[in-house]
C-alpha cells in the first residue's frame, strides 16, 4: 500500500514540476511575455529568436547555451546613451543612412563618428540629457577618438555572416535584430544560435552548406 502511495506521490511531483518549469519558461517566450508585448521588441523576429523547441528563454538566464554576451536579452551599457527610438522612430532616419556599409560589406558596422557629426553639428539636442550626450560625441570627434561602443550582437569568429547577401535578398533588419526603432538601448532579441539560422535557411530554401558560414 505504502509503495503505491509513494509511487503516486513521486509521479505527481514530477509532473507538476515539469509543468511548473514550462510555466516559468513559457511566459518569457516571445509575444506572450508582458515585457515584450509592451514595446514589441521581438515583433518580426524569425521564429521568435528560438533556435529549437528546447531553446527556451529561461535557459539564457542560466547561461545554458553560452556566456551572457551571447544570450538573448544582452543589453550592455553603452558609452553614449544613444536611442534608436529618437533617431529612427521619431525622426524617421533610415537604417542604411547610418549603417551604410550593410549593402557593400559583410559587416553592417557602426557608423563613423563623422556620420554622427554630420547632423549633430547643427542638432544639439533639446533636453539636458540630450545635450550632454551629444557633447560627448563631439568630444570624441574633436579628439579624434573612436567611441568604444559595446558590441551587442557578438558572434564567434568562426561564423562568417554576410550582411550584404541578406539585405540584397530583401530581408528586413528586424528579422534578426527585432524592433530596433523601439529600443532605447539596443538589446539582443534572438540567441543567434546555429539552429535558428538553419531553420530560416531551410524555410527559405537557401544554402545549408556548412561552408557558407564556417571556413
Amino acid at each position: 500500500m505504502a509503495r503505491k502511495v509513494s509511487g503516486i506521490v513521486i509521479f505527481v511531483v514530477v509532473v507538476t514540476g515539469f509543468i511548473g518549469l514550462l510555466m516559468v519558461a513559457y511566459p518569457l517566450k516571445a509575444d506572450q511575455s508582458s515585457s515584450y508585448n509592451k514595446i514589441g521588441k521581438r515583433a518580426g523576429v524569425y521564429n521568435d529568436g528560438q533556435a529549437a523547441l528546447w531553446d527556451l528563454n529561461i535557459l539564457d538566464h542560466f547561461h545554458y547555451f553560452g556566456p551572457e554576451a551571447r544570450a538573448r536579452g544582452y543589453r550592455p551599457e553603452q558609452p553614449i546613451k544613444f536611442s534608436h527610438v529618437t533617431h529612427v522612430q521619431k525622426n524617421k532616419i533610415e537604417c542604411q543612412f547610418c549603417h551604410w556599409s550593410v549593402t557593400k560589406s559583410p559587416y553592417a558596422t557602426i557608423p563613423e563618428v563623422e556620420v554622427c557629426m554630420g547632423c549633430h553639428k547643427m542638432v544639439k539636442g533639446t533636453s539636458d540629457q540630450q545635450k550632454t550626450e551629444i557633447a560627448k560625441v563631439e568630444k570624441y570627434y574633436n579628439e579624434g577618438k573612436a567611441i568604444p561602443w559595446q558590441k551587442v550582437h557578438v558572434m564567434p569568429d568562426y561564423v562568417h555572416f554576410n550582411h550584404k547577401r541578406h539585405i540584397k535578398a530583401g530581408m528586413g533588419c528586424q528579422e534578426c535584430h527585432g524592433q530596433i526603432p523601439e529600443m532605447p538601448v539596443v538589446e539582443r532579441v534572438s540567441s543567434m544560435k546555429m539552429g535558428w539560422c538553419v531553420s530560416c535557411h531551410r524555410h527559405e530554401g537557401t544554402s545549408i552548406d556548412c561552408a557558407t558560414c564556417h571556413y
Binding site: 505504502a2 509503495r3 538553419v198 545549408i208 556548412c210
Partner: protein, 170 residues
C-alpha cells in the same frame, strides 16, 4: 501472503524441504520457499510455468532494433550531408547502431522485468525471512489463519524441519 500467521520451517536437507512443499501444496496453502541459491528441484516443486521475463526481453529487443535504425536513418535524413560517395542513408553502417540498440534496450528490458516480477526493491515483504536462508538453510513459509498454526507447524516438523517458528503474516 495470505493468512494472519506465517509458519516458518527451517530445513537443512533438500529432500525434507521438497516433502514439506508437496504437503503444503496438497493442502492448497499459500507458501513461500527461501533458498540460498537457485535449484531446479525447488523450481520444479514450486512452479511449473516459465518466467514471462523473456517476453519483456523480446519486446525490448525488437523496440531497440527499430529505435536504433530509426534514430540513425532519421538523423541522417534530417540534415543530409554527403560524406565520401556514401549514400545519406547507408544501411550497412546503420546495422551496427541497430544491433547495439537491440542489445542495449533488450538488456535493460530484462533488468526492468526482473525488478518488476521479483517485486524489487523489496522493503516490506520479507515475511518469515531468516538470515540463515542466505547461508546454509532452506526456509518454507506457510501462510495460515491463527487457528491452523498448530496443524501446519506439526506438518512441517513432520517433514523434517530443524525448527519451526510462528510469525505474524502480512
Amino acid at each position: 501472503m495470505k493468512g494472519e500467521k506465517a509458519v516458518v520451517g527451517v530445513f537443512t536437507y533438500m529432500d525434507d524441504l521438497l516433502t514439506a512443499i508437496e504437503k503444503v501444496k496438497a493442502e492448497k496453502r499459500d507458501f513461500r520457499v527461501y533458498s540460498p541459491f537457485a535449484h531446479h528441484l525447488i523450481e520444479h516443486a514450486t512452479s511449473p510455468g516459465r518466467s514471462p521475463v523473456r517476453f519483456v526481453n523480446g519486446t525490448g529487443a525488437m523496440l531497440g532494433l527499430i529505435a536504433g535504425f530509426a534514430l540513425a536513418i532519421w538523423c541522417a535524413m534530417d540534415w543530409p550531408l554527403r560524406v565520401s560517395a556514401k549514400d545519406v542513408v547507408s544501411i550497412p553502417g546503420f546495422v551496427v547502431i541497430g544491433y547495439e540498440c537491440t542489445i542495449l534496450i533488450g538488456s535493460l528490458a530484462i533488468l526492468a522485468a526482473i525488478f518488476h516480477f521479483c517485486r524489487l526493491p523489496n522493503i516490506l515483504r520479507k515475511v518469515g525471512y531468516d538470515p540463515r536462508f542466505s547461508d546454509d538453510k532452506f526456509g518454507l513459509v506457510v501462510g495460515c489463519s491463527s487457528g491452523e498454526v498448530d496443524k501446519v507447524e506439526a506438518s512441517l516438523k513432520d517433514a523434517g524441519a530443524d525448527e519451526v517458528e510462528v510469525r505474524d503474516g502480512l
